[in-house]
Structures are given as structure tokens and as C-alpha cells.
């Protein structure tokens, strides 16, 4: 709470500071009968009263700039203060490298904030491609604390497309996935890279190596929703190729035979069957071995059996699996 929390800070009230003696603070106008009146702390009240004064006077001075910094430290969500700060930065032709330092400082513990990220993007855009590295390092830092940070990933994608730096991105995804193979954001970024990187040749060119990578990830953790979706995504728009790639059906079979964490293996098998996969006896045996005791041992339709098992072992989504069963062609 309050500015400069990381230092031994004796904060002087604005009304006590000589450089502000010519300014009359402007109190918050909540209207005659505030609908959702907010309770304030004294320090915050004072900073905002002075901010309002410079904002209404449109004073674009160095002291106004530092005042916006104080206001932001109290409440980084206050978008009006950020707007005004940008106007002041522009008017002063301020050094935007220092602005990045400022952002770095106040981002500590406040990273879930749209305004900070938007301001950062504004600064980086003005600095241009020279800031690509800094931006990659910054997002990397945030992601090292929270590897699924939505704003950080969004910013990183913008940086790649606007300022470059694609070279190491696939490796970075691999690193993150090594730390946490369940990181859906990292899988999404991986897809982003293989489909959009100007250095990699596109989805088709990457498909083979990516299938190998993903199959390995699936075998290590078959309960990982992200890896299964990624695998399917590698064949986006190419259902026939997907059905006919033996690696897909083989990985399903392996997991079914292991009898552990096979929900996604079953649902993928179901999808394959619905797309025309001709399943051999190996599949029938593996699925039969998973049948729960209440299921009809004589129901020979493989797809129906898969749906029935899923209804039992994934009861939260029983209605969904039942719907899938109803959608199967009548035998």
C-alpha cells in the first residue's frame, strides 16, 4: 500500500511539499448522492486530489509526471491516470527507456492489470524493434512467476508479430513444457509459433516433428487435455490425414492397454471412429478390457461401447457422452 514499498520510505504529504504549494487540490466529486461511495485512505485521497488539479489544468510538467507515478502506485487500475501520464510523456518528449524501468518497478506484484500491459505496449511500440529483446525478457520474467499469465502471453504474441524475435520461441515453449507439461498457455504458444513464425515454414512443414513431440508428451501424461488437443490441431482441416496417421491410433491403443488415465484416449478413439477409422481386433480387445461390469458384454459396436464407458468413468460429462452415443449412425 502506497508508493515505494520496497524502500525505507518516509513519505511526505503533498501539502507539506514546497514544490506543490501553488496548487489547490481538487476533491473527488461523487455527485450529490454517491451510488457506490468508496471509502478512502488519507494518503490516497491527497494524491488523487492533487492529481485532479493537474488533470483539470492539463498541466504537462515533470512534477505532474511524478505525481502520476505516485497515483499509479496507489492504484494501477486507474486508467485515467495512465492516459494523462501518456499525454505528459508525449508533451515532455520523455525518455521512454526510463519509462520501461518505471513499469518494471511498479509491475512487481501487480501484473494482473490491463493498464500496465497496455501502457507497456504503447511504450514498446514507440521504441520500435530495438525494444524486442527487453520485452521478451520482461514477459519471460513474469511467466517465470506465473507461467499461464494471460496478459504476459498476449503481450509476448504482440511483440513477436510487431517487433520480431521468433528465433528462440519454439525452444522457449519446450522449456516451459518441460517445467509443466500441463501448461495450456505454452501449448497454445507452441501452436502460435509453428503456424505463424516466418522462420519455420508453417503447420504442414512442422507436422511430422510436432506429432513426435506431442505423442511423447501424451505417453508421459495421458491425462493431459492440452497435448491431446494440440495433436488434433496439428491436423486442422485435414481430417483424412489425421485418421490415417497410424501414430494417432497407436498412441490411443497404448494408453488403453495401460488401463490408466485413458479418458482422452477413449474420446480420441471415438472421434477417429466417427471419422471412419477401421478399428482392428486389437482395439476391440483393449476397449473390452475396460468395460465396467454393468455394461452389456455382448454389445459389439465399438463406438457405442466407448461412449458407454466414457459415460461411466467421466460422470460429470455423462450427458455429453450420451449425446455422442445418440449421434452415432444406427447399426
Amino acid at each position: 500500500m502506497g508508493p515505494g514499498s520496497d524502500e525505507e520510505h518516509h513519505r511526505v504529504q503533498l501539502s507539506q511539499r514546497p514544490e506543490w504549494s501553488d496548487v489547490t487540490p481538487v476533491p473527488q466529486d461523487d455527485g450529490p448522492n454517491p451510488v457506490v461511495p468508496i471509502a478512502y485512505t488519507q494518503e490516497f485521497t491527497e494524491v488523487m486530489d492533487y492529481f485532479r488539479a493537474v488533470y483539470l489544468a492539463d498541466e504537462r510538467s515533470p512534477r505532474a509526471l511524478s505525481l502520476t507515478a505516485e497515483a499509479i502506485e496507489f492504484n494501477p487500475g486507474n486508467y485515467t491516470v495512465w492516459h494523462f501520464r501518456r499525454l505528459v510523456l508525449e508533451s515532455l518528449s520523455a525518455d521512454l527507456h526510463s519509462e520501461l524501468d518505471f513499469l518494471e518497478r511498479i509491475s512487481e506484484g501487480k501484473s494482473k492489470n490491463y493498464q500496465i500491459w497496455h501502457h507497456r505496449r504503447w511504450v514498446a511500440e514507440k521504441l520500435g524493434p530495438e525494444s524486442a529483446n527487453t520485452e521478451h525478457e520482461f514477459t519471460k520474467k513474469i511467466l517465470s512467476i506465473d507461467a499461464k499469465h494471460y496478459h504476459a502471453w498476449s503481450h509476448r504474441q504482440w511483440v513477436l508479430q510487431a517487433l520480431g524475435g521468433w528465433e528462440c520461441e519454439l525452444n522457449y515453449c519446450s522449456e516451459l513444457l518441460e517445467e509443466d507439461i500441463f501448461n495450456n498457455s505454452a501449448w497454445n504458444q507452441r501452436y502460435f509459433v509453428i503456424t505463424r513464425s516466418p522462420m519455420l515454414g508453417g503447420l504442414e512443414a512442422m507436422r511430422e516433428s510436432e506429432v513426435l513431440y506431442t505423442v511423447e508428451a501424451i505417453l508421459a501424461h495421458p491425462e493431459n487435455e492440452s497435448s491431446w488437443r494440440y495433436l488434433r490441431g496439428l491436423y486442422r482441416g485435414e481430417a483424412a490425414l489425421w485418421v490415417n496417421d497410424p501414430q494417432i491410433s497407436v498412441v490411443c491403443l497404448k494408453i488403453l492397454r495401460s488401463k490408466r488415465n485413458y479418458v482422452f484416449a477413449l474420446s480420441t478413439l471415438l472421434d477417429l471412429l466417427c471419422h471412419g477409422l477401421q478399428a482392428n481386433q486389437d482395439f476391440r480387445e483393449a476397449v473390452d478390457a475396460l468395460k465396467t461390469s454393468d455394461l452389456d458384454k455382448h454389445d459389439t459396436d465399438l463406438a457405442r461401447t466407448v461412449c458407454s464407458i466414457l459415460e461411466r468413468i467421466d460422470p460429470l460429462r455423462a450427458n455429453y457422452w450420451n449425446w455422442r452415443k445418440c449421434m452415432l449412425p444406427q447399426q
Partner: protein
Amino acid sequence: MGELVTEKHVKYILATEKRKDDFESVVMEHLRMSGAYWGLTTLDLMGKLEAVDVNEVVSWVTSCQHESGGFSGNIGHDPHILYTLSAVQVLALFNKLDIIDVDKVTKYIVSLQNEDGSFSGDIWGEVDTRFSYIALCCLSILHRLDKINVEKAVKYILSCKNMDGGFGCTPGGESHAGQIFCCVGALAITGSLDLIDKDLLGWWLCERQVKSGGLNGRPEKLPDVCYSWWVLSSLIMIDRVHWINKEKLTKFILNCQDMENGGISDRPEDAVDIFHTYFGVAGLSLLEYPGVKPIDPAYALPVDVVNRIFFNK
């Protein structure tokens, strides 16, 4: 398991007005317009909107409109598309849409559409599919949807569709339940739901339900009451809500209540706030919980309010 402690929630919302020296509230000052929307809509859903003075609200909302036509989060703040929608929604609750200059608001929103069909939040240019939803929802309520390029708006939203069937904040952005609600809502409002793969998206959405019965926003994340709205309303808009276990979700939301002091939190045992109180009650509304008025999944306003907007014109 508890029931919905309506009276406590009403007290909690109204008490927020009277609370002093609460630093928590300090950080909400600039988004008071959205806070008002969350609080007032929740009151209306519980049939208690009359506890609030219409004239006070309307006069304050009016004082937040700027020359540009946009509304700010509070007096003394800059206009933004977020608070423009919240303002319009609040006025709709009170059937006071006639007090605003519709042409001006329209002009403001139209000015925020970009070449590629996307929308910016304000003059500073942040682009996000949230703003697409807001623009379309707002203009639809004001019967001015024809003033923007709807085709391009839809095209941009579709460009944010991912291979898992979900939607992100920008093209290539990770699928996230909040962004999905915005994109599905926008497509619903523009009559373009046929452009969604409902089965694929429906499955992604129902996979958000975890063992506790709650919903998360992305794979392998924790459940949060706000997803009870975003996931649920999306499922309803694409006619797939029966794919989740409604009973378990209801239990999860009810467990997030503060039974003593009112209010709802993101997950059981955490601190409550207005934001999650709204989403919890709105979620229960979608689940047809007794005593809660029905809410429109696309407009996020009570159904009777939406009917008034579109059928009494």
C-alpha cells in the same frame, strides 16, 4: 449444503455504499460504473432493485457521459468503451435509456471500430475481443447496430477462433472462457452463431467442469465462480448447457457464499467481492435457481429488461 442467502447478499451490496476506510474499495474508484452494474443487476435478479434510488443513480450516470458520447468509470475520469456499456446497462435496468443522447453514444462506439473490424477500448487503441462484444451489445441495446460494419466485426471475431473451438483476446490468443463469452455473445447478438462449431466448443466448455463441480476458464486452472457465468452463458447460447453437471455447479456456487455477512467469493473460503457476487447470482439464474429472475445470456441483463428493450419499442 446451504441455500442462497438472498437477504444477506442484498445487505452486503447495499452496505458497500456505507463502508468507510476500506482500502479494498479504493482500487475500485475508477470502475465504479461497472461496480454499479454488477451490484444493481444482482439486486434486480433477486427482485430488490427498488431498494435503490433511481434518480440518484440516473443523475450520477448522466454526469459520467462525455462530449465524445462515451461514459467514464466515474466522475472525473476519461471515457472508455467498458463503462459506456455498463452505463447503458444500468440505465436499461431502470428503463431510463431515453435520457441519453443515443446518437452521441453511437458516434463514440463507431469511432472505435478499426479497419480490420476489431474495436479499441478507447482513443489509446487497446484491441481485444472484449471490446467487440461491448460495442455490439451496446449498439444492439440502443437499436443502432447498423451504424458499424457488422460484417467486418464478425470477421474479426472469427479470426480469433482457435483450433480447439474456443476464442482468445486477439488472433492466436489462448482460448479463455471470458473471451469465449464475449465472442459467442457478439455472434449471438449479430445472428452469426452458425459460424461456430458448437459441438467442438461445447465439448471444450463442458471440460471446464472439475471434480468439485466448479468451472475453470482454461485447462488445468482452478475453478472460479465467475466462470459459472462465462462458461454457462456460452453453453446456453450454443444450446449445449446440458453437457455440464448443473447440480454440482449449483452446489459449488452456493458454497462460495459468505453465509454470515453476504457476498460471494471466487471459490469457497475466499474473501467476497461485488464482482463474484454478481457472477455467482447470475450463474444461479442461468441454472434456474428458485427465487432468482431469469437473465439473458447474451445481454447479461434480466430477461424482462431485455424484453422491454426489444419488444416494447
